[in-house]
Amino acid sequence: MFLDHIWLIPLFPAFGAAMMFFFGRRMQKAAVSTVCVGVVVVAFVFACVTVVEYTHFAHGTGQPFEKIVYTWLGSGDAHLSFLKRDGTPAQFNADFGFLLDPLSVIWLLFVTGVGMLIHIYSIGYMAHEGGYYRFFGYLNLFMFSMLTLVLANNYVLLFVGWEGVGLCSYLLIGFYFHRKSANDAANKAFIVNRIGDAGFILGAFTLAWYLGSFRFLDINAAARSGHYLIGDTVLTAAALLLFVGACGKSAQIPLYVWLPDAMEGPTPVSALIHAATMVTAGVYMVARSNAIFVLAPTAMKTVAIIGALTAIFAASIGLVQNDIKRVLAYSTVSQLGYMFLALGVGAFAAGVFHVFTHAFFKALLFLGSGSVIHAVSGEQDMRNMGDLRGRIPTTFKTMFIATLAIAGIPPLAGFFSKDEILWQAWRSADGGFPYLWLIGFGTALMTAFYMARLIFLTFYGQPRMSQEVEHHIHESPKSMTGPLVVLAVCSALAGFLGVPHSLGGSNGFEKFLAPVFERGTEAAIAATEEPHHPAGEEHRKLEWLLMVLSVGAAVVGGGWAYRHYALAGKDYPEPIAVKAPPLYTVLYNKWFVDEAYDYAFTGRRKLGDIRLGAMGAGEASSWFDAKIIDGTVNGAGWSTRAVATLSTWWDKWIIDGVGVNGPAILARMISYPTRLLEWGLVQWYALVMVAGLLGFAVYYVWK
């Protein structure tokens, strides 16, 4: 019953968005929140019931459920077929179809669940803002797009959701459209995402051309059929192209630059983009395409290296930022790097698990930061906060839990997922992979440091805000703290879904996902040619050791932060700035990446009058065109003119003088019928068309 109507899940938010689009302007705020939050709650309940029904359907085998509502493009007609690369014909078919398997079940649950909490939170947060209905309409549209993306059964429909998510992020980041910085950020997000989207759509079409279908099930079956060798060139190219798409959407090097700027949107939007929806789309897509990726070890290595680099790079920037939301943004980029690191080393389940836990604590952190900002009258700079823990106790408690979780303190959620990733990075190792572990370890250290720094600067130390602001500090309303508490409970407990074997757990999460990554895991292991597992007890000891190390890193990082910030007064010193000023400058300016992009691509930088980078190259070629080529043309023109003067003279005195007027008269005679072709009467042109029609017909009838 519910499973058959799975297509309704995305339609609920779409309905809300449509209501807002058509009637929103005239509705009361209460009605707007009832409709918009209501549809998401309904979607969540519907999703839960559907998932329950799915588990009955699958009987623990993880067998996918596919529901094709109708054929969207193509109809199975022979005339719509195209030729695959190997010359066999294949159908061009993109269904409006939905796929439910363990992977999409996880996404479905946390997208609707966390999304619902964020909606509820937004009621309180946006209560005094303009454009209330617009905001909720966009949020609902966002949910619709993300659910379409998650539930799609083929790349084309996934792309619909993918683009929809991009559009909504543009709309929401630019929500305060009267602020120029918001508009610029929205444009940046949109344009950077376009680069990724180009890669994604090329990858999807490459797959269709090579494997003959857009459907995930077909593609997975084909890829796992053993028909294609590991390291197949075309598949590697396709996987890399898909990963370009994932880079754009999930903010990996070099396309991560849009995400920190996305903080220009309202805080619930940041939470939605970072935790539940947009950025996890890339991870989802790579996990969804795992069958392709395991056939392309080069692509896998690329994913792992990019992920690891992103993780440590973003974490290092996060160490010194002062804007509370910006710290969290870089933390998201860093955590996404972790996820891709996991995917890249073949531990798909571990990556997905981290997405899952991350959804909770990152949503919590963002919503908490929103609550903090709410409390201090819109101030975002942590230098102007401090000593808030007693004044907004619920926010403090929940955010503290989230910080412990993200830092990886057992037994909170982040510990299990992060350690699983680090362990997998170490284990699936030969060659460079321990280095990946090392990078991850360093990142863990930094994560603990900057998260603790955030907490201490915000909630401890001495109050550094102005008198007036301090006077107004108050705890947020129930609709905001309620979601915080729920999320805090989730962040604390979610990890127990996937307790690893070494800690006496059963790793249920990985088991649940195993059918999706069936061949994936084995093939990845085979691909990295791991010669032997450190078996049994030794194996377990090693894992324990790594765990202790990373927990130790978290504690040490947190401790450093405590030492430097716990008692921060008005003009507290930044430890990095004190010890290594150049490093601080580099980090504070985000490694000058935006500036480098400005030099290389956007064309904002000028050297004197000359624009730099790609745009500069365009301008240079424009200059070349205008000066050199046109100069040549003009020169030719000048010389022609000179020659013409000469020939006038020649004509006047020699030709006419000699008396050869014949060619002129001839030319004039020819020009009359020629001119008839173009004399401005539309019906004459129609007549020529009729003549052409006659000509064709006569030719075909009497040929």
């Binding site: 004399w679 401005g680 009467l681 539309v682 019906q683 129609a686 007549l687 009729v690």
Partner: protein
């Protein structure tokens, strides 16, 4: 009177088509030119439906529905252009429209 065959319909359609072509090619009034285009489209539709009957399937009829859609779009845009044009030049004679820009 003999039985009516497909050819009869084709002849009627051909007559309408030729009438429409004459209208398009010779009239000065833009509105009548547009109406003549509708005549041509109708002749085509009649052909399509007649063939649809002849082959005993519905593709022709479906296609004629598309042509009706097209005719509606064409009429709307054509008349819109006509109004814009009339506003600028105070004339609706097609042979006075001989400049690309004014």
């Amino acid at each position: 009177m003999a039985e009516i065959t497909t050819l009869h319909y084709l002849v009627v359609a051909a007559a309408l088509f030729v009438l429409g072509v004459i209208g398009v090619l010779t009239r000065r009034n833009v509105v009548i030119v547009l109406m003549s285009i509708e005549l041509i489209l109708n002749a085509v539709n009649l052909n399509l439906v007649a063939f649809s009957r002849m082959w005993g399937n519905l593709h022709g009829q479906v296609f004629s529905v598309f042509i009706v859609v097209d005719a509606a779009a064409e009429a709307a845009v054509g008349l819109g252009i006509l109004i814009a044009f009339f506003r600028n030049k105070e004339t609706i004679n097609v042979d006075e429209i001989d400049l690309l820009k004014w």
